[in-house]
Symmetry: C2
Subunit: 215 residues, 2 copies
């Protein structure tokens, strides 16, 4: 049985994790588990607490590594963290190393994105360059065995791309139909290129105030 | 502080819950919690275990009730369950009662959908009529204070519609931008109307075999 490990940490964004989980947890021949600094409950800082089945100390190799984003991913990437070291150690053992949202910055800090085309949440896009990545304004970016997704909900799209790469188009289409992913957002505000200017600037200011950007 | 309760039960579909959670947990002036038969860990039957903060016996009223779907929602609706009785009891106290996917069948079994336009996962659509609902082939259906979403990922769209109803369009657009909900599914297979015929029939057969439909 091959293994898929999704990394959790306090403050992770639940939708970054559970979006791709829907398809990934149905990959035939793969066992899916959550991993964290320590096994046990991991909180998003609000009402969601998910159990990690394993600690990073128990996991030395994995077939698919998934790193979801969250605000702490940005700061862990900037300042270093044992989870970053663990990602560096695990990556050489994977078939696929994938990130959602600001999880890409953790891949970057782990040294995985040097000269690699990648994407992340729109707010953090410029920061990809700090890790030597080549920022791409795309929803899903594939480069060798590394796949990165844009912000939060983009992990759903990525999981379908990955499903196709591994199991072929028909399997991926079944996953899409199973989750009825036939999106009809009520507004056209999902990216700064289409959202009203005031919405973009308000949200950018909010992120600036929380993240005290280092640049 | 107003309260949002999301109901969990063994076998719930995590994306049904966490899709709308992203926006709902950021609703200003609302406290969000998970509720289940008993407080404590609730498993989806695979790798996701989420903590319920409260048991149904502790909750007698709530401002927004959210019922996510899952295979057991179909059988609980068919056969009855204490959770169905709890939904019947709580609904008169809510401002909004909302469901994702087959959660709609639980609302139906609780007697909430008589002559009410509603939607659910495409597979279960015909079963809405068993509860007196008027099935709508729509992604999100609003009828008075009841809002129902189609399958799994439709809960994301619904959360944005609800955000607009309560807080106005600009707030909802900020939520959409925050989660970068700018969907780009790699295939056009998210609904039986667009998916390849073989994909639809294979998945329908799989569901038939699991659900032993009672009709």
């Amino acid at each position: 049985m091959k293994q898929i490990a999704m990394l959790l940490y306090p403050g992770f964004t639940p939708l970054d994790a559970i979006g791709p989980y829907h398809a990934l947890s149905q990959f035939p021949g793969y066992e899916f588990f959550f991993v964290a600094q320590e096994a046990g409950p991991v909180s998003d800082g609000s009402a969601t607490v998910i159990q990690a089945q394993k600690s990073i100390s128990e996991v030395n190799s994995v077939d698919i590594l998934v790193v979801p984003g969250g605000l702490p991913a940005i700061t862990m990437a900037r300042t270093g963290d044992p989870l970053i070291d663990w990602i560096s150690k695990i990556h050489p053992t994977t078939e696929w190393t994938i990130s959602v949202c600001t999880g890409a910055l953790m891949l970057g800090a782990a040294g995985l994105l040097k000269d690699v085309p990648a994407t992340t949440h729109w707010y953090s896009h410029p920061e990809l360059s700090d890790y030597g990545a080549i920022p791409q304004d795309e929803r899903v970016v594939e480069s060798g065995k590394i796949m990165t997704a844009a912000g939060v909900s983009a992990g759903i799209d990525m999981s379908l791309v990955l499903a196709e790469r591994i199991f072929g188009r028909e399997f991926a289409e079944k996953m899409q139909l199973d989750m009825e992913y036939d999106p009809k957002p009520p507004f056209n505000a999902g990216h700064p290129r289409s959202a009203p200017e005031s919405v973009v600037s308000d949200l950018r200011s909010l992120f600036d105030s929380v993240l005290k950007p280092n640049k």
